[in-house]
Amino acid sequence: MSLDRETAPRQPVIKCSSVYKIFGDNANRMLREANGNVDAKAFQDAGCVVGVNNASFEVHKGEMLVVMGLSGSGKSTLLRCISRLTETTSGDIHIDGEDLLAMSNRQLIELRRNKMGMVFQSFALLPHKTVLENIAFPLQVKGMSTKDSMTRAMEMVELVSLDGRQNYFPRQLSGGQQQRVGIARSLAVEPDIWFLDEPFSALDPLIRKEMQDEFLRLQGVLHKTILFVTHDFSEALRLADRIAIMKDGIIEQLDTPANIVLKPATEYVRKFTEEVPREKVLKIKSVMDPLDNTEEFSDLKVSQNAIIETVAESVLSEKKAVAVVDDNGNVVGSIHASNMLYILFGKDDTTKVGG
């Protein structure tokens, strides 16, 4: 999380610099000639498709970066470049300081066996294996004994609350249950980095909400470094520490959910944010003022993780500033009724934003 970064500047877990992915026969030559200025139109005329266009960013330990974009925006391609399911055309990707693109097949397999886990949109479960066997699969691939892998898989079954269904086949499960298996499988080897490619897009809205809660609960326990791809803006707002919004292969804006909603960098991003009821998606944390010890607080205290809407009424009825506390009850900031009015009704971007 951003706080971690401020206190302890460490090596990023994922570091991308100028990553390009161009599909097409003469992609390499085209890219060399373009000299860094890739124009999607010109490439398309030459029979190439630009998947990812000059992506540079870092993801830090325990952080959840959500990549948001509509279909064809290159979000899944970006994820596939970082998991090296697709070969990157140009650029550098480092995982824990190691050059991913220079790795041999053997090294890559080792990396995936120990550090990476991935969840797929279509679940991608092995149809011939039971729930238990599916979850144990990455462990057995590593060479773990049947007995140990099954014991570990059973723990994972319990973690995703599928006990009692461990001997079912994927076809006998509902979509939500199948994705629980997918999640359990991706976590079985205790990876550091967790890739999720539109994991909840194939699910019904109600199940999706339930799975998002489940996901947040898991992340609250596990603190993985996460790269999460979605086309659902509200999902991105709900889950993300930071959001990268992509269009035509370009990252339009990469920022905290609050900043994206409150200060959209481009017209494209603004279109997404327009319809978003800020008070329903933003947390107090993202709009509070920094702690100022001279200030006098009212008796009311609100949690920094509370969604604005849920506390707005009580904050507005207070005359003095309201203290914002973290999970342990420490005061970490404050919020004024006047500020709250801006958030609820203000249209300009002058609102002070913390974060």
């Binding site: 596939r80 998991s83 399911l85 397999i109 080792e110 990396l111 995936r112 066996r113 120990n114 990476m116 886990g117 991935m118 797929f120 949109q121 279509s122 991608a124 479960l125 092995l126 149809p127 011939h128 294996k129 039971t130 238990l132 699969f137 990455p138 691939v141 590593k142 049947t146 007995k147 099954m150 059973m154 001997n167 997918g182 499988r185 991706s186 080897v189 890739f195």
Partner: protein
């Protein structure tokens, strides 16, 4: 005129027909007229092929081989030694399994020599008592699936034993147990390599297409030349015939594995080998299992045909029974073949679907209870068999092996039935037979034979052009040209006449029966089950009843062909109509369409592409059966293939004739596939 403008294809087709009949009217039949018949420029080709094969077998790449009996080195051709070595290993395997089942001395001979056997009369491998084999099969069925399969396996084998077909059935089984695994293994390997490499796939594709349309018989001649005659030759012919569908289905299955599943495997850190063995192949299991099932079916279908080149077993006996017109016996043998097919099929399916319980904490006895049970049963049955030798002193030991044709038989019943039918229906059957031949078949045959070659080309290439443009016209024209340049054009015309007559009748029946059955889900299920069952019968079976009723005429062959070829027509019609989205049918009903209107304007057009694939299958099935019909005397290509079988120099003729049949099939296949694909694209089905 306006109507023709709106339907340009109809206009083209009308023009084509006019031109066709003009040519038919104008061209005069004469040996020297190229428009009437093309000169057989390819006539020397079979001779060349023979010479080439002979060169390969006897002169090419000579090597020195040590002959252990003559104790000296001999000059021999490399290929001959290779095929000999292969033949010997296959034969050894077949005999090894056969002797486990029914006993014998050949395995011991293989390790020692005939001398050893003569000196040691005790050196003989005893047969397993049939009770052991049955209990073994039942325990296996129970372990793999449960009570149902155990019962099925037990009853099927008991039937075979009690009806006195144990020995030939075990011979057939040993032959299948060697040929099927080799075919499956080869098919898997080639299918996987085709999946991995585009070059392999592109090379295999035309070979597979030809292999699938070559009649069974035409494989036999080359096999006898290269591998000789006997059980091993039968097994090798079977392998050659059964492997292509396995390759095709393996490739199909692998290509249908979702990309994400493979990616999931990669993200779990699987190596390439793990991806292949633990992700790709198991995920493609459904199609691969259909392939396995096809291999088993082909093996048993070939069991009969392979008996032409010396394979022993049920097929050989069936052939004998057919030749002697012993219909009851032929029927019982046919049932035995079908039973073996069904049991093997179900066992292999159950084996692939088997589940393991990882958390059961079992003792040694519990874990191995099935093996232990088998050992116990084995001991009991052996003791019983020994007791049997005391009880049935000197007679037949029914607890050991029931000898061939010493079991129960219902032959007299069937024979009486057939006699009764002939007695009571003879005149009407003969009347029907004669009427059909005189009024329909003869005129149709004459019309086909009276077609100038130029007119045939015009018609076929024209249809090709209308369906798929200039490319299709050239492709079908090429296939036709090959046939026209051989000396068997007239024979090919007769084959075409028989096949097209059968196809027209089969498709009509199939469409009607299929459409009626598809109206109701229970009826569809029953009809599909019937189709499944009929399809497991080796094609020969269909000849049994018709010969009895109609004697040795074109009518018999055609009726057998029609019965056989109606199966795919019906099946695909049902599948096609059942897969029409229910919402569309409901939309039709809510628009007030009557059942017939709905059938014509919704069911048929939407099911059309799938039905066309059924028609394609019908054509292939019909061609195969027409060729097999040569057995009971026709004068088409099949008859010549059969002749090539008994000809020492038959390899060239056999291959060329096989190709002629294959090319007829491939031309039709090309036209139908192109058309169906276009309709599919138009309907937005993918």
């Amino acid at each position: 005129m306006g109507y023709l403008k709106k339907h340009p294809r109809l206009a083209q087709f009308t023009l084509l027909l006019i031109a066709f009949f003009l040519l038919v009217a104008v061209v005069t039949p004469s040996e020297t007229n190229v428009l009437w018949r093309l000169p057989s420029l390819l006539a020397p080709l079979p001779g060349e092929i023979n010479a080439f094969a002979e060169h390969l077998m006897f002169d090419w790449f000579p090597v020195q081989v040590y002959d252990s009996e003559l104790k000296e080195y001999e000059q021999s051709a490399l290929l001959r030694e290779v095929t000999r070595g292969f033949s010997r290993s296959v034969l050894f395997l077949i005999e090894f399994i056969r002797e486990i089942l029914v006993g014998g001395v050949k395995t011991i001979v293989a390790f020692t020599g005939w001398q050893f056997i003569r000196e040691n009369p005790w050196a003989m491998w005893p047969a397993l008592p049939w009770t052991v084999v049955i209990s073994g099969a039942m325990i296996l069925g129970y372990t793999l699936s449960g009570r149902g399969l155990a019962l099925l396996a037990g009853l099927a084998l008991a039937y075979i034993s009690i009806f006195g077909q144990w020995h030939p059935a075990m011979e057939t089984l040993s032959f299948v147990l060697v040929a099927a695994p080799i075919s499956i293994f080869l098919g898997l390997i080639l299918g996987v390599s085709a999946y991995k490499s585009r070059v392999v796939a592109a090379t295999l594709k035309p070979l597979l297409n030809i292999a699938q349309t070559m009649p069974h018989f035409s494989y036999l001649v080359p096999v006898t030349v290269f591998f000789g005659v006997g059980d091993h030759a039968g097994a090798i012919a079977t392998i050659i015939f059964a492997t292509p569908p396995m390759i095709r289905l393996t490739l199909l299955g692998l290509q249908n594995v979702p990309v994400e599943v493979v990616e999931a495997g990669m993200m779990c850190g699987s190596s390439d080998r793990q991806i292949l063995l633990k992700v790709l192949v198991p995920t493609a299991r459904r199609d691969i299992l259909i392939g396995v099932n096809q291999v088993i079916m082909q093996c048993l279908a070939m069991a009969v045909i392979a008996s032409f080149i010396g394979a022993k077993g049920l097929g050989f006996n069936l052939l004998l029974a057919l030749n002697q017109l012993r219909i009851g016996q032929a029927l019982e043998l046919g049932i035995c073949i079908v039973l073996i097919a069904v049991v093997l099929d179900k066992l292999s399916l159950a084996w692939a679907n088997k589940q393991t319980d990882y958390f059961a904490d079992l003792s040694f006895v519990e874990r191995n209870k099935h093996s232990l049970l088998f050992l116990a049963v084995f001991a009991i049955c052996v003791v019983l068999a020994f007791l049997g030798s005391v009880i049935f002193k000197g007679g037949i030991n029914y607890l050991y092996l029931i000898p061939h044709n010493k079991g129960i038989t219902t032959e007299w019943f069937w024979q009486a039935g057939v006699d009764w039918m002939i007695d009571s229906w003879y005149s009407s059957l003969q009347g029907f037979n004669r009427g059909l031949i005189v009024n329909v078949l003869q005129p149709m045959k004459n019309a086909y034979l009276g077609m100038p070659v130029s007119a045939t080309f015009l018609l076929v290439m024209g249809v090709g052009y209308i369906v798929g443009g200039i490319r299709s016209a050239l492709i079908v024209g090429g296939f036709l040209l090959f046939i026209a340049l051989t000396e068997w054009w007239d024979r090919a015309l007769i084959t075409m006449y028989m096949a097209s007559f059968a196809v027209i009748v089969s498709v009509t029946i199939g469409l009607i029966v299929g459409s009626v059955a598809a109206q109701n889900s229970l009826a569809s299920k029953v009809a599909l089950l019937v189709c499944d069952t009929l399809q497991t019968f080796p094609s020969f079976i269909y000849l049994i009843p018709v010969i009895m009723l109609f004697g040795v005429t074109d009518t018999s062959v055609l009726i057998a062909v029609i019965i056989y070829a109606t199966i795919p027509a019906t099946r695909y019609t049902i599948e096609g109509i059942r897969s029409v989205p229910p919402s569309l049918r409901e939309a039709g009903m809510m628009s007030g369409a009557t059942g017939l209107q709905r059938w014509i304007s919704i069911d048929l057009p939407l099911a059309f592409p799938h039905i066309m694939l059924g028609v394609n299958q019908t054509v292939i099935f019909a061609l195969f059966m027409v060729i097999i019909g040569a057995m009971i005397g026709t004068d088409d290509l099949g008859q010549y293939i059969l002749k090539a079988l008994s000809d020492k120099q038959g390899i060239g003729n056999g291959l060329m004739l096989g190709l002629c049949v294959a090319f007829i099939g491939l031309a039709v296949d090309h036209l139908i596939h192109t058309w169906a694909a276009e309709r599919k694209a138009l309907l937005g089905l993918t």
